[in-house]
Amino acid sequence: MVDAALPADAVVVARLRTRDEAMFAALIDAWSPGMLRAARAYVADDHTAQDVVQEAWLGVLRGIDSFQERSSLRTWVYKILVNKAKTRGVRDARTVPGLGLADERDDGPTVDPARFRAADDPYPGHWRSSPPAWPSPEDGAVAAETRRLLAAALAGLPARQRVVVTLRDVAGHTSDEVCAQLAISAANQRVLLHRGRAALRAALEHHWTREATA
């Protein structure tokens, strides 16, 4: 996310505490798009995500005067958001099943083992054939198709992978931020990111390979 237009946290917080409306407007304009994406990883539809983001901003209003600045402002705001989104997700029965629990497969290969040569081959563990090339992402139509495919594939990821990939790669947060926002370890965060990215790459490969042979 481009926060270049926003001043340092301490300045933003001080202005919010003096009820500087322009500052609040700048903040909600800068952060709401990423927050909507993140909320959408927990709840069933765009409308609910809009509600969750509004609730989160009201939570920010309630808490700003006592915000301790132990974390960055953005991490604090996203913690509020994630709490609201989880609560809403539970209520709407499309929760992130047990975020923080090992409810999804976190082990095993992320690339089909059949893609690699067997143990009795002269080159065991090497590609049988290289991953096929994809059309150039410089092409506007390809880029648009890629975004469409990724949005669909992201929605189909296991919940915890979807949340981590959304926060890291879509909303552009750092590893440290995401660990703090979700209260998960760095190792756990990396595993979820790895599995999610590998699955999304595989979805793109599947599509472009089918296109090429169609």
Binding site: R17, T18, R19, E21, F24, A25, I28, D29, S32, P33, G34, L36, R37, D46, Q50, V53, Q54, W57, L58, L61, I64, D65, P109, T110, V111, P113, F116, P124, G125, H126, W127, S129, S130, P131, A133, W134, P137, A143, T146, R147, L150, A151, L154, V165, D169, V170, G172, S175, A186, R190, L193, H194, R197, A198, L200, R201, L204, E205
Partner: protein, 76 residues
Amino acid sequence: MNCDEFVELVTAYLEGTLAPETEQRFVGHLAECDGCDRYLEQIRVTVAALGRLPEQGLDPDARDRLLAAFRDWPAG
């Protein structure tokens, strides 16, 4: 390093969290394997495209309501 090990280390490599010895083996393999070079590039393309998904803004009505709530919020 084998390709099936390489593909599982891609994220740790991009995060800069590989142990120095493993990173050397990773980079060494990358230099001599076209398949893994392409795999890593496709992961990069995927991550870059995720960062360009279309953004949604807050509903204008919701934005107005939030600004009104802010305006009426008692000073701390």
